[in-house]
Amino acid sequence: MKIRKVLFLAAIMGSTAFAAQSQTLRIGLESDPDALDPDKSRTFVGRIVFTALCDKLIDVTPDLELVPQLATEWTVSEDGKTIDMTLREGVTFHDGTPFDAEAVKANIERSQTLEDSVRKSEVSSIESVEAVDATHVKLHLSAPDAPLLAQLADRSGMMLSPASFEGDVAANPVCSGPFKFKSRVAQDKIELEKYAEYWNADAIQLDAVTYLPIPDSTVRLANLQSGDLDLINRLAATDVQAVEGNADLAFARADGLGYQGITFNTANGSKSENPFGQDARLREALSLAIDREAINQVVFAGLNAPASQFVSAASPYFDPAYPVPARDLEKAKELIAEAGVEGDLTLELQAPNRPENQRVVQMIQAMAAEAGIKIDIVAKEFATMLADQQAGDFQASQVGWSGRIDPDGNIYGFVSTDGGFNDGKYSNPEIDRILAEARAVSDPAKRKELYHQANEILMAELPLFYIYNEAWLYGVSSGIEGFSPSPDGMIRLEGVAKSE
């Protein structure tokens, strides 16, 4: 009896000792990811989990360059209609199935055909996938599609084990990333554990990673401070000081690709018939009335970056001809006088009811008033705001975009006549032509020139303007080593270790 007791105690102590040694990283996210199936996933936080779970054909560096992941090299044919890819050898999925050209073919075809796939439009230019041999694959396109490679560096390029297609992928995703799926409790946690056979296993020091959705940023921070979490996403700018002043914590930030700006309703229904919807000079006047740096300092403690165009300053496509406009009240007033507005100049501006957005629009309201523009703020819950925006029930919206590495993803959908996000229904045949051409050419220099041409027109017409680029802010426990934030906001776990 006594021996059994001792053994039992030893077993308990042994298990706790093991638990203390095992390196589990606990990450606090701002919301619960949706379906864990790359073909159905729509949320940003979902992409963060996929970063550890599913390798993609192509990856992105902090300098926004496309680099090999499961595809070791690729070449685009002269006419832009064929992409040749060489695949990494010795890669297996978490169920042991080898990764090969047939798997790539099966995955792309799944994205194209699955009934509720939200990837269909991203891979619609791929006419057929040809598995040349086990390690070579050819993508045949119906037309040149320059942004496609960037799509393959995101969810469209994530590879699932074809053997898992039959089952419920979202409930048990089988990929080939550094960590494999262990369990998920909706709205509570997602647990992943190290995949020992990972092709780059040497770069992975952690044994497991757990993601916990905690929507309230104060509570997220409290969990980090109490040691219940090791790393938190989307630290509030107002909490940065608290993190920096705590010896047990560290603060990390990266310039982001996302932006926040103001979109105008220029042609979507009767609400577009207001002075700002009809006269670009007034839109410019409002833009000039805003001190972007002041907003950044006051609301975000200077942690974001004032913005002027659809790509951030970090992008190779940034156009130096259009730096962040300085506040110019005189010019703003001149433009308003020139537009010959009679009576009060009023704009109804809708904005999400989140505290940060509200502070931003309140500052805009105060600054615009000095130029003689009266702004009525309409605060809306986000889902409602999007619905109203799409229905044309708005004059102007303070709205943002999480950003894409390819410039096409930041602009095409927003200003081309048939763009999916063009809620203000701005339409300009010249812009349509330029953006379509920029999609079709693969030479980066030529594309850059085209995007700069587009910029020139957009800056004159201002169907939307930009206020700031969002930075990614993280709170990290000081026991964590090797974490470096990326501009795409993904949490990459290569080289990350816990020192305790």
């Binding site: 379906a35 439009s121 909706a186 509570d188 916990l212 509570v219 969990n223 109490s226 219940d228």
Partner: protein, 314 residues
Amino acid sequence: MLSYLVRRLLISIPTLILISIFVFALQKLLPGDPVLALAGDDRDPETLNRLRELYHLNDPIWMQYLHWVRGAVQGDLGQSIRTGLPVSDMILSKLPVTIQLAVMSMIFAAAIGIPAGIISAVRKGTVTDYIANIVALSGLSIPNFWLGIMLILLVSVKWQLLPASGYVPLTEDPVQSVRTMLMPAFVLGTALAASLMRHTRSAMLGVLRQDYVRTARAKGLTERTVVLHHAFRNALTPVVTLAALLFGELIAGAVLTEQIFTIPGFGKMIVDAVFNRDYAVVQGVVLVTALGFILMNLVADTCYVLLNPRLRVS
């Protein structure tokens, strides 16, 4: 007794149907549609439309309702638009969590509220009574989210005594499970304790004035026996009824408490579902909560009958 219970349960069916119609109609009045709320990054009109078709969102409301009811009577509450998981599975996985929170909160509420109520009634008009009343009033007026955040900052961050989040199921690790639930249960419990205290106090005051209490005292029984055996037992009836009805308040309070302590229960599920316009989930949770409320009412009535023999005869 049994036929009474069965009859009461049968009456609740039309109630549930009415509630489901009401909720269904109400959520359709909410602006914003689920597909768009989720779309965010993929607002491609073609994709949106396909998803709306897939989830029957383009059908007229009454057809959507009938479609839902047909499934619901067979135990199929539909599919969450956000996670793609069956709603009945989601509810079943959250049920033990919410029940655990409710039970622990009630224990806190009863342990604080009932003795405080008895003491303040017995010591009516004294300093003790005033203090107990002030405490009860604060319990009612301090918002759950404030108390929750303060507790996290003090107990978890400063003293590092209890975890701030990280719910563990009771079956997995009972000790850790209770530890993670202590603070949220306390936060929820304090709000309920206040109502319980006030009700216990007034019920006790009523009973203490009765003749039989005076008789008991005249017989020379100790004050303790008089209060606990003679008075309290009779004062208990309205208190028990109230405790059962507080269940509704408990679920409402859980909405915020579960958010703050990130407990994966009903409250958190319904908040997320409303924001995502995940209609099937909202509908399912409301239905199950309503059922729970009806059952608790039944329990209250049963307790009432059991505690009061006079009602049993009629």
